[in-house]
């Protein structure tokens, strides 16, 4: 910084003007790129580097660069160096619009400061009447070391300066001698002048104050604000105000998630859930507002923030835990947003977190999960199966039963395996699947049913085998059913099997032969004294068909 610009006094030379025009041209390019690309994009960064290079050339050849701003354009020492069209992408117009009188770029200006300057220019293009900042306020806040500017008061009328004599220090009706306070100010009780020696800050107080100020400067106030708003919501409040606060909290929750302020996000959701509970009795009229808030807060618009923060969450377990605890506080309908994320975030940590969260939410209300399960995409359903597997209760079982009819075989297989492991009741619901068009499924069910003794399975098989709908034309199915009956059944089945195996008559022909063979297989699998007795009779039967059935069963066919 020499005197002024170092160029004052003389008309600007053609070379100087051209150099300034080059600088401004690089400015316009950088502004354009900032409008098109993020600030950290290589194109944006290169354009700022270009501006910096042009400025440094100027600084080394001339001096600091001070530009005056007028409605017509940018001036250097009264000479127009850039005509400003009234467009927000134009540097001159943007500076003029917000009242910048001149702007100066000084030697020493570094790239970082220049980048921040272009970010401010870009952010300031869209300023409305309702805005809370503009180019001038942003430049003030940036407090640049090497970019100076002066502004003019364009936001206020010139005649705003009121004559102080026009202001009244008292009301017209005031009587200055009638107040009891006269005693204080005009005599009577004369207060002692303050003894300042009593009000000197101690070393400890100075230290305390310093620490308070440091803490104040560092602290984000979001937590303070959230605590306050939650307290206000919990107190007496007009419905409209209640709603307004919830709107703010909605945005705040999104920002907290995106900003990884997960403890605060948790506190917010916990607080709101608490308020919802207390409002059930105290303020039932606001419950719909709270419910609407809770519904809106799990929208993709809010929860998609999880995508952004996941790279960090993948590393920090404590953050994952806090996010999980926060998400669990959402309404079960959040499953509709969280479920699809299982397909979008591949990290195993994310899968576990989301699965656990969905499971927890579904345990409160399974219906959102059911809606998601109606999705025909098999890959999503497969991701959700572990959830269903862990869910307890009739609702989840019913959901699984419904899914057992899913068009995709792979889904049905997994659902059926899950259901079969659950309980006896599931066996009953899934028994029809022994007739599933998929041989695999049918086999799985039959094998599963034959794994252990089960009164339910035995009854179902007996009913099935006795029924008219039993598909006797499918020999392998028939034999598999009898075999499964033998493995899951008891002596209760012996009389039926005995009848099938030993009964006389030829009316059923080949089918009868298959049944006999099945019955012999079942009896062998039953492996009880009563079953052995029937098999012995079959072995000594006069009927070749019976003996043949026995023989095949013994051979393990």
């Amino acid at each position: 910084m020499e005197e002024g610009s170092g160029l004052s006094g003389e008309p600007a030379s053609t070379e100087v003007v051209q150099a300034i025009k080059d600088v401004i041209s690089s400015f316009l390019t950088a502004m354009k790129n900032y409008a098109l690309y993020p600030e950290d994009h290589s194109i944006s960064q290169k354009s700022v580097e270009n501006v910096s290079a042009r400025l440094n050339d100027f600084f080394s050849s001339y001096s600091d660069l001070r530009l005056d701003i007028s409605k017509d354009g940018i001036l250097f020492e009264s000479e127009i160096v850039h005509q400003s069209p009234p467009e927000l992408r134009d540097l001159g117009f943007l500076l003029f619009r917000d009242g910048i009188e001149w702007i100066e770029f000084r030697r020493g200006l570094e790239l970082d400061e220049l980048s921040r300057f272009f970010k401010i220019l870009d952010d300031s293009r869209d300023v409305s009447q309702q805005s809370n900042s503009d180019l001038v306020t942003s430049l003030w806040e940036a407090d640049f070391s090497y970019i100076g500017h002066e502004t003019t008061e364009i936001l206020w009328e010139e005649d705003a300066l009121i004559d102080l004599t026009d202001l009244h220090v008292t009301g017209k009706e005031i009587q200055t001698v009638s107040s009891p306070l006269n005693d204080i100010s005009e005599g009577g009780i004369m207060l002692q002048a303050i003894d300042l020696s009593k009000w000197v800050l101690t070393a400890q107080e100075i230290n305390d104050l310093r620490e308070t100020v440091i803490a104040e400067e560092k602290a984000g106030s979001s937590e303070e604000m959230l605590n306050l708003l939650l307290s206000v919501l919990d107190g007496p409040l007009h419905e409209k105000d209640f709603k307004d606060i919830l709107v703010v909290l909605h945005d705040e929750f999104r920002d907290l998630l995106a900003g990884l302020e997960l403890q605060m996000a948790f506190n917010l959701m916990k607080g709101l859930n608490g308020i919802r509970q207390s409002c059930e009795k105290k303020k039932p009229e606001v419950l719909p507002l709270l419910d609407h808030f809770l519904e809106s807060v799990h929208s993709p618009e809010v929860l998609n923030a999880i995508h952004q923060i996941w790279p960090v969450l993948d590393i920090l377990e404590s953050h994952r835990k806090m996010l999980q605890e926060t998400l669990i506080l959402l309404p079960p309908a959040a499953i509709l947003t969280l479920g699809p994320m299982l397909l979008e975030i591949s990290s195993p940590h994310a899968q576990r977190l989301l699965t656990y969260t969905i499971e927890s939410l579904a345990s409160r209300d399974i219906r959102p999960l059911e809606r998601l399960l109606a999705d025909p995409r098999g890959d999503l359903l497969q991701r959700l199966l572990p959830v269903l597997r862990n869910l307890k209760g009739e609702e989840s079982r019913q959901a699984l039963v419904k899914m057992a009819r899913h068009p995709l075989e792979q889904v049905r297989i997994q659902v059926i395996e899950t259901l079969l492991e659950r309980d006896e009741q599931s066996i009953e619901d899934l028994f029809p699947s022994i007739q599933d068009e998929s041989e695999t499924i049918s086999r799985i069910v039959l094998e599963h049913l034959g794994k252990r003794r089960s009164e339910v399975a035995e009854r179902l098989f007996l009913d099935y085998l006795k029924g008219r709908s039993f598909p006797r034309e499918d020999s392998s199915h028939v034999l598999a059913c009898y075999r499964a009956l033998g493995r899951c059944g008891s002596n209760r089945s012996v009389s039926f099997l005995k009848e099938v195996l030993l009964a006389h008559g030829w009316s059923l022909g080949l089918l009868r032969s298959l049944d006999r063979q099945g019955a012999a297989l079942a009896l062998r699998a039953l492996n009880t004294d009563e079953a052995e007795e029937v098999l012995r009779k079959a072995k000594g039967s006069v009927l070749p068909g019976v003996r043949g059935a026995y023989q095949k069963a013994m051979e393990g066919q």
Partner: protein, 486 residues
């Protein structure tokens, strides 16, 4: 004077962080020039000042041949780089800037060969600087005195470019008044928009807060003088601006950053916004309010907060300002209103805001109270609430900031004169401020007389020439202090 800033009594008790080289040099130069005025060459304190000055020079030179400390648009630059001051040094830096301005010099260039200069030469230069402010053509006078003497290690940079120097006093005052009325107009505009259910933005309020912070940094006394403006008819708006100003003065004194001061200023400007929802007949009721009317009034901090909450402000700003606005009627012991149970104390900003709010309210005539406290009595009364109503530490800061007789206090003197306090005495005797004598005019009002320091003594008797008999409230005499101060 030593390098340890903790031992320096600058009237501010909050300095511990070591100063940057530029700040250290400015301070060292200033204290050298001040000390050389009252001490002989062999005085130990003066020697310590010279040592510190040389230490600061060496600190700035590093391995360079010379360095330049120069004022550029109201700020110091060391070797073309803006000197960043610690907040607690702002008062002293302002004094150094004033000093340079008085001397008519824009800066100094010190050469490495100062190593060869004797202590006597350095002291001689300091004495010249001490005298230069009293001369007519300061630069010419200084150049003449330096000519032919052993001052080759120092070069004076002339303040020829008026742009380089700070604004003149009158210009600053006009800017200050303009900022004040712009602030009033902006707060009124926001309030009116809210009252008519229109959306309101904070752009203007933000600009105003920034202007006030700039003024604060430039001339805090001038800013404080603005806060004496009273307007009975437009109380809410003058009060809002006054609270913002007082808060800023306190905030600066405790060392808040520029950005925090901006937010604190916005809090002050908007703290009473909720009054737009209180019926006018209640706000303007001359007598005592009924319980239900008072209940309405008690809602205004909540309403203020809600209005700000609904404004399209950025989240950072919103989170910082809504709690203090909500809590400005809360007391330090959490009594007051509105009461919410949130398990934490009053926020720092709210503690500042509430003191500024009470002070301005007590010193203003209100529709329901036809008498106001004089500033010193308001302060005395507030001290009784230390630890209960007000943060005891911040209250101490406030007392030390305002002095025994705050600016704008009207004093009856034992000479029979009336004096308006225009500046607290920054020295040891806080009870003896500078006063402007007010003389009766022909129209039944007052006109400006001379300015005296109440610390002034008769050289023969060594007794004070003027003493305070009692303080008065300017409004009792229809006096608008700002009219005489600005």
């Amino acid at each position: 004077m030593t390098n340890d800033s903790k031992t320096v009594n600058t009237g501010n008790q909050l300095e511990q962080i070591p100063p940057a080289p530029g700040e250290r040099f400015a301070r060292a130069l200033y204290w050298l020039v001040q000390t050389v005025r009252i001490h002989r060459d062999n005085n130990r304190l003066l020697k310590a000042c010279v040592d510190e000055f040389l230490g600061a020079v060496s600190n700035c030179l590093e391995d360079e041949e010379h360095f330049t400390l120069q004022i550029f648009r109201g700020r110091f630059y060391l070797q073309d780089k803006k000197v960043i001051y610690r907040m607690e040094s702002m008062d002293l830096i302002k004094a150094v800037l004033d000093f340079f301005e008085r001397c008519g010099i824009a800066g100094l260039r010190i050469y490495a060969k100062i190593d060869e200069a004797s202590v006597e030469q350095i002291l001689a230069f300091a004495r010249l600087l001490n005298q230069v402010g009293r001369q007519g053509d300061t630069f010419a006078w200084l150049s003449q005195r330096m000519e032919g003497r052993e001052f080759s290690w120092v070069e004076i940079i002339q303040g020829a470019d008026t742009n380089n120097l700070r604004l003149s006093g009158n210009k600053r005052k006009e800017m200050a008044r303009r900022a004040y009325f712009n602030a009033m107009s902006s707060v009124r505009e926001v309030a009116q928009k809210l009252a008519s259910q229109q959306p309101a933005g904070l752009r203007k309020v933000k600009r105003i807060a920034q202007n006030l912070v700039d003024l604060l940094m430039e001339d805090d006394i001038l800013l404080f003088q603005l806060s004496t403006i009273r307007d009975y008819d437009d109380y809410t708006y003058t009060h809002s601006v006054n609270v913002a100003i007082l808060s800023l003065c306190l905030g600066k004194r405790v060392g808040l950053s520029r950005r925090s001061l901006e937010m604190l200023g916005i809090c002050g400007l908007l703290h009473d916004l909720g009054k737009v929802d209180v019926p006018q007949e209640i706000l303007n009721k001359p007598g005592k309010l009924t319980e239900s009317e008072f209940e309405e009034v008690r809602k205004h901090p909540l309403k203020s907060m809600l209005h700000v909450l609904k404004m399209p402000t950025d989240q950072d700003l919103k989170t910082k300002i809504i709690t203090p606005i909500f809590e400005h009627h809360l007391k330090y012991d959490l009594s007051g209103y509105p009461h919410v149970d949130r398990g934490s104390g009053q926020t720092f900003f709210a503690r500042i805001l509430s003191m500024a709010d009470v002070f301005d309210a007590m010193t203003s005539i209100r529709v329901y109270r036809n008498k106001a406290f004089s500033p010193d009595h308001a302060l005395s009364s507030m001290l009784e609430g230390s630890g209960r109503e007000f943060d005891p530490i911040l209250l101490k800061v406030m007392v030390n900031l305002l002095g025994v007789y705050p600016v704008g206090t009207l004093l009856r003197l034992d000479t029979g004169e009336m004096g308006l306090v225009i500046q607290s005495n920054g020295g040891t005797d806080h009870a003896r401020p500078q006063v402007l004598i007010l003389l009766p005019d022909e129209k039944g009002g007052f006109r400006k007389g001379k300015v005296f320091s109440l610390a002034e003594q008769d050289p023969k008797t060594l007794s004070f020439t003027r003493n305070v008999v009692r303080s008065l409230h300017p409004s009792d005499y229809g006096i608008q202090p700002a009219e005489f101060l600005l």
